[in-house]
């Protein structure tokens, strides 16, 4: 059986998209975790709390998975999963309503088992939903345990926590777009090829497109990308300068390549 090929022009577009995505991934590392970590770090410092953590909703099976945590009592939560229909995080996730409880240990509904698994049982807890602005709805929960200066949470605390949650939701949204690109490529190829291509053939085309970038991790191209990634911390002026230098190099390289 010969593998039917999609329209070359369309395939070209898809290859370009795959290439950009691969380069972007390489440039940014794991921006989601890094951003979420910086958000819980800031949250725990600002509130002077024992712990802050972010749980993200994942499917199959449905669960809220604690991805990042900060604070003296936070570390034990990372990697834990809880049912989205249980506990305070589950309630906030299901209703989209921010909620704070104090004196939670005396609350029989409080999920003591989960708390004990983390090695820390809080006295007070505030949780706000992470709501993506475009379509997906609630994607997770930001949780804060035990503000040291007060046994309860004020309206301002809840609003501020909402601001941090919005940041986290935006970070998740941005990186999910990238993560979903592979899936999108598969779908697009599937549609272009109609029923003629099976999953394996589509996979082959996608990997051909991305592998075209040079699979060798040590190749000069990837070394260059890694160097560029390190430039990200530079200011606007320095980046401008690097851009100008690169432009000169590109101009120099163009005729060289023709000569080759």
């Amino acid at each position: 059986m010969t593998t039917p090929t999609p329209d070359p022009a369309e395939l070209q577009v898809l290859r370009a998209a795959a290439r950009r995505a691969s380069i972007a991934r390489r440039l940014q590392g794991d921006p989601e975790t890094a951003l979420l970590q910086s958000i819980v770090d800031a949250t725990v410092t600002l509130f002077d709390a024992e712990a802050a953590s972010i749980a993200i909703f994942e499917r199959d099976p449905d669960r809220l998975e604690f991805r990042v945590a900060a604070g003296e009592q936070g570390a034990g939560a990372i990697g834990l999963s809880v049912a989205p229909s249980k506990g305070i995080a589950g309630f906030v996730f299901s209703t989209g309503q921010p909620l704070a409880l104090s004196d939670v240990t005396s609350d029989p509904r409080f999920d003591r088992k989960t708390a004990e698994r983390t090695g820390y049982v809080p006295r007070s807890i505030a949780a706000v939903p992470l709501v993506e602005q475009h379509g997906r709805g609630t994607v997770g929960v930001l949780q804060l345990l035990d503000k040291r200066s007060s046994p309860t949470f004020s309206l301002r605390d809840m609003e501020l926590l909402g601001v941090f949650a919005a940041q986290a939701a935006a970070a998740i949204h941005a990186t999910r777009i990238q993560r979903d690109l592979d899936e999108l490529l598969h779908q697009a190829l599937g549609r272009l090829a109609g029923d003629e291509l099976d999953a394996a053939a589509i996979e082959a085309i996608v990997s051909a497109a991305t592998d075209g970038l040079d699979p060798d991790e040590e190749s000069p191209f990837w070394t260059l990308v890694d160097r560029l990634a390190r430039l990200q911390s530079l200011g606007e002026r320095e980046l401008g300068l690097v851009g100008d230098l690169l432009e000169v190099l590109v101009r120099y390289a163009a005729p060289t390549r023709r000569r080759a």
Partner: protein, 273 residues
């Protein structure tokens, strides 16, 4: 052409009918005593769309008249069935306790729309609200909302149906930006929290979408398994307004949502203009 096909919108204003168009007393003569004085919520059914109600919780003192739950079948179609699961989280019971704290003789109807299946929560919530509208409730407490843009039309229609049937929808406002239905619709009582520890203290905000502010910070609440705890959130502000709405409805049975909002605005704790 038969008369039945002619919309008779002018009929209430005809010479024979307009004497029956009674109106409220002048707003400046309306005070809290007129609005709520002596009322207990008796005769008013209040639906609580939430996580269920723990009917034997002391804070609910036997006022739970009926409990149903919305379940989704394999095709995702919602069905309303009798419910004996109590309260999955404690949150519904908390709302019920707050309402009965203000309107002790109101009758509570639990419509559980939160459950283990999260895939269909928007449609389940809508089906629960529709059921409540068809089962004689006068006030519905919605301390939750749908974030799904796709549910706009469904909830808009239900909010209108409630308004035309004189059912007051009392909704917790959501602090998170983006869609939040039906709490953002103009016909509902949208409520956010204030931090003065007084269940009777509430404010009218003339800058919508959030029109009312009620106690929602460090509120002592009933919670699951007969327990109590202290909680903060707009979720707990809404049932304060629902309790007051139940009092109003029990004392003045014919009030429309439009009139009820006007009265609540008139007797709010705002400084006088």
């Amino acid at each position: 052409m038969t008369d039945a096909l002619v919309p008779a919108w002018s009929e209430p204003f005809s010479a024979a009918a307009r004497d029956r168009l009674t109106r409220l007393p002048p707003l400046e003569t309306i005070d809290r005593d007129w609005a709520f004085g002596g009322a207990t919520g008796r005769g008013v059914r209040v639906a609580i769309l939430d996580s269920g109600l723990e009917s034997d919780h002391p804070a609910l003192h036997g006022r739970v008249a009926e409990s149903v739950a919305v379940e989704l079948d394999k095709a995702g179609e919602p069905h309303v069935v009798a419910d004996d699961h109590g309260d999955l989280f404690g949150h519904g019971t908390a709302c019920g306790g707050i309402i009965l704290g203000l309107a002790p003789e109101a009758e509570l109807v639990s419509v559980r729309v939160l459950g283990s299946d999260l895939r269909g929560k928007g449609p389940a919530f809508a089906a629960g609200l529709e059921w409540a509208l068809e089962h004689g409730v006068r006030v519905a407490n919605l301390s939750l909302s749908s974030k799904s843009e796709a549910m706009f039309g469904v909830f808009h229609e239900l909010a209108d149906a409630a308004y035309f049937r004189n059912v007051l929808l009392v909704c917790a406002a959501n602090n998170v930006p983006g869609p939040s239905y039906p709490s953002l619709f103009s016909s509902v009582l949208s409520v956010a929290a204030h931090d003065e520890p007084d269940p009777w203290r509430f404010y009218y905000n003339p800058s919508p979408p959030v029109e009312f502010g009620a106690w929602g910070v460090d509120v002592p609440i009933a919670w699951r398994d007969g327990g109590m705890t202290v909680a903060t959130g707009n979720s707990f502000a809404a049932p304060h307004m629902a309790g007051l709405a139940a009092l109003l409805a029990s004392k003045h049975p014919g009030l429309t949502p439009f009139e009820a909002k006007a009265i609540l605005a008139a007797v709010a704790d705002n400084p006088r203009r």
